[in-house]
């Protein structure tokens, strides 16, 4: 091999084509000044397909074989085989954004169905085709809030327990709009509502709360939080995910204006933090929504058809006045999430969500029975995960667990966080035994 295996040209083809274009060589077609012509090498060796596979898989195999009890915003659920099989069909996987809707009805319909799923789960009128992940969706929510607010404001309020990574992304997103981010304290795992009331004022454009929180607690005061925000003409943005939303209070019912989160809990899993940014909001804001929207319409034959719509919000039309610079998003993951949700159905979704309450409850009580361990730390209902107090330093506990093949979070000097779902529940027995040793 001395070229790309992914071009069909024979040597004779190349010669014939050069004849047609009137060039002596391919290099002749390049209009690059001598001074910037690159004569060096990258030093990347070519590999056969088998060699490339062996090389990459050999590299990946250096990852330790751990059973993860990790969560904090990135969750694994069992993904059924249909998801890989159907989303992997090359008509889906290799297609471009649906700028020619007449030949991309399939993907458009799937995205329309994905939007519909989120509309049902959030109770809000609009869901887009995706943002990159929960963090960037939150950033976009803050920018949306700043755009739709009648008067200017300069603050976004977030919970103190928010993942640092999300806060950092948020700060970068809102910097251009000259917004600042302030944190409101937590009280026993959920938002300290009196403190929130103190903090929020007329300069607040957005109040963000999560349920379940990063520490796995279910937030009981959502409606109250929304009221605080609304009293000051701020938007209320809720962070959650499609599995939790199948069971917990419907965002629209508690006054959420925007819902963000990571929908990759369906169809993907943790994937080293690769996400699927969920973004839904009230219909009133539809012309300020970032990202892509699929709408239903009709074709020239009067048949229902789908198309990207309100593209005038987008960068390729509106340029610097676009609602966001996003173009390529996570569409294929939205397809996967939609397939997974269809496979579960409403029964399956609710069942799964119920187990996500039961599993951590049961595991916490198992850990709590261990001498030197208290779990859960917070007197809250939990979803998928909880924080446990260990008399031993948490770092030492986590290290001992890792030596036994288990990964947990260290979230304080004497606090570890533990996540249990249908993806790791088969290992609970061994985990508890290892914990007993480690603690």
């Amino acid at each position: 091999m001395s070229g790309t295996p992914y071009a069909p040209h024979t040597d004779a083809d190349v010669e014939a084509m050069l004849d047609v274009v009137g060039a002596d060589s391919i290099d002749d077609l390049f209009d690059i000044p001598e001074s910037v012509w690159f004569d060096g090498a990258f030093g990347i060796d070519e590999h056969t397909e088998r060699e490339a596979r062996r090389e990459v898989e050999g590299t990946l195999a250096r990852n330790a074989d751990l059973t993860e009890f990790l969560g904090r915003g990135h969750y694994a659920h069992y993904v059924p085989s249909v998801v890989d099989d159907l989303s992997g069909r090359s008509e889906f996987l290799t297609s471009y954004t649906q700028y020619q809707p007449e030949v991309t009805q399939g993907f458009l319909q799937a995205l329309f169905e994905y939007q519909s799923l989120l509309v049902e789960l959030t109770g809000l009128g609009v869901a887009n085709c995706s943002m990159y992940d929960a963090a960037t969706a939150l950033g976009e929510a803050a920018l949306l809030a700043a755009r739709v607010r009648e008067t200017t404001g300069d603050t976004v309020v977030v919970p103190d327990g928010l993942r640092a990574e999300r806060e950092s992304v948020l700060r970068n997103y809102v910097a251009g709009a000259d917004l600042d981010v302030e944190s409101v304290p937590m009280a026993d795992g959920t938002l300290d509502v009196p403190a929130l009331r103190e903090l929020v004022d007329d300069d607040t454009v957005l109040v963000y709360a999560e349920s379940p929180t990063t520490r796995g607690a279910i937030e009981a005061s959502l409606a109250e939080i929304a009221d605080v925000a609304h009293e000051h003409d701020a938007l209320f943005c809720l962070g959650s995910d499609p599995v939790a939303l199948s069971l917990l209070q419907r965002p629209a019912d508690v006054g959420a204006d925007v819902v963000v989160g990571d929908a990759s809990v369906l169809g993907l899993g943790t994937a080293y933090g690769m996400g699927l940014g969920l973004f839904a909001c009230r219909e009133a804001y539809v012309r300020q929504v970032p990202g892509r929207l699929v709408g239903a319409s009709t074709d020239a034959a009067g048949k229902r058809a789908y198309t990207l719509t309100l593209q005038t919000r987008e960068q390729h039309i509106r340029r610097e006045r676009a609602t966001s610079n996003i173009c390529t998003n996570q569409a294929w993951l939205a397809l996967r999430a939609a397939i997974h949700a269809a496979w579960l159905g409403p029964d399956g979704l609710v069942d799964l969500a119920e187990r996500m309450v039961e599993l951590p409850r049961d595991l916490a009580s198992r850990l709590d029975a261990i001498t030197g361990v208290r779990a859960p730390v917070h007197d809250r209902h939990h979803f998928r995960e909880f924080v446990a107090h260990t008399d031993q330093p948490a770092g030492a506990v986590a290290e001992a667990l890792e030596a036994e093949g288990f990964a947990v979070h260290v979230v304080g000097g004497h606090e570890v966080q533990v996540c249990v779902t249908d993806a790791n529940d088969a290992h609970v027995e061994e985990f508890v035994a290892a914990f007993e040793e480690a603690a």
């Binding site: 990258f42 399939g106 799937a110 990574e165 279910i218 994937a271 709408g295 173009c327």
Partner: protein, 464 residues
Amino acid sequence: AHEPLLSEKGETTVAVEDTPLPEELTRDSVTLPSPSEPEIAEHYVRLSQMNYGVDTGPYPLGSCTMKYNPRFTEDVAAHPDAAVHPDRSDESVQGTLALLHALQDSLARIGGMDAVTLQPPAGAAGEFAGIAIAKAYHEANGEGQRHEVVVPDSAHGTNFATAAMAGYDVVSLPSGEDGRVDLDALEAAVGEETAALMLTNPNTLGLFERDIEAVADVVHDSGGLLYYDGANLNALLGRARPGDMGFDVMHFNVHKTFATPHGGGGPGAGPVGVTADLADFLPSPQVREGEDGDYERVTPANSIGKVHGQLGNWLVLVKAYAYLLRLGDAGLRDASGKAVLNANYLAEQVPYDVPYGPFHHEFVASAGEQDAADVAKRMLDYAVHPPTTKWPETVEEALMTEPTEAEGLRGLDQLAAAFERAAADDDAALANAPEKTAARRIDQTSAARDLRLSWHALDDDSDA
């Protein structure tokens, strides 16, 4: 072909009751489709059959680089060892970190850059990260007053949007007669308020900015930085590098240049490369090889923080890395060469005028009296995907055409024939197109006016 919505095949309402939670914490019910697995398979197989992909036929979308996506990279990304949680300890994800480190390194060499972040999850996110880095750099140098970003009028819309999102005022730079940057106009546009010039090279007309070194000098002399939009990098692999041309920051579109599938609109990945001066401002974390040979995540000294919750679209990066290993130096260079050969060959066959040249991996033809969007719809009837249309606006009724290296003589000739036939069609035929597709021309106006964004909103009279 028509496939009912899943909701039209039967919805179920599940009452949410008797849950392990107090009632006040739970919703009342959920109403969703509840198809069986055979119905799901049928549904999505049928939908896929109503969708055009790279394997379906030629896909010459200018600026999109819709090349073949090798299947083995999917298998590699599906490897169980790739499915790890981002909060694992560094020691327990040495494989992941080693791969990321190797990819950072390879991209740096391909771009002629000193350091690379893999975090941005798309090209636009890469732009945002790159401009944020430029901003942080200026602020660190006490030049926070620079509030303008200059963008050529023919540039991708994202460039404008990114600059605005980062809080910059956008200065649009008119193109010169030859379709390239006009140095005089550039001189006039830049100054003490200029934070950066964003440029694509070759530009959206496929033209190499021959004066790129002079452009760089002008920008650098004004104290600004030069940003390279990697959308067209497939034209240059192994023959020229942005770093060597004077660019300070650049992004790569792995779903264009490095053959990761576009997925109907993502996920992509938009790694950003910078020169040494800017390396300390890269997002956190970077992957570094420690002295013991182990890999670790570190935060650059003046990091801008994060532009994605974790390290971006990891599985996409795995695919890009596998592609790089497969091709190697020679393959990458050959890919570029054949992409450019293909564009030049195809342009010879196209019956429309191509006002600017010499072009590289893409050319912009003008449909002239015809409506470019109609021409595109008509090409659908001739069983190919049409080019990008009506952009850049510097070409009347633009047909921006990029066949990529993955098309062979057969495909190119098939495309040429479709162009020929559409060019010979009258306006009525164009306006009625497409006629042979699953859906006929779709009413955009009614879609936007009468918004129906979920099945909840449907109560239509269409013949569904």
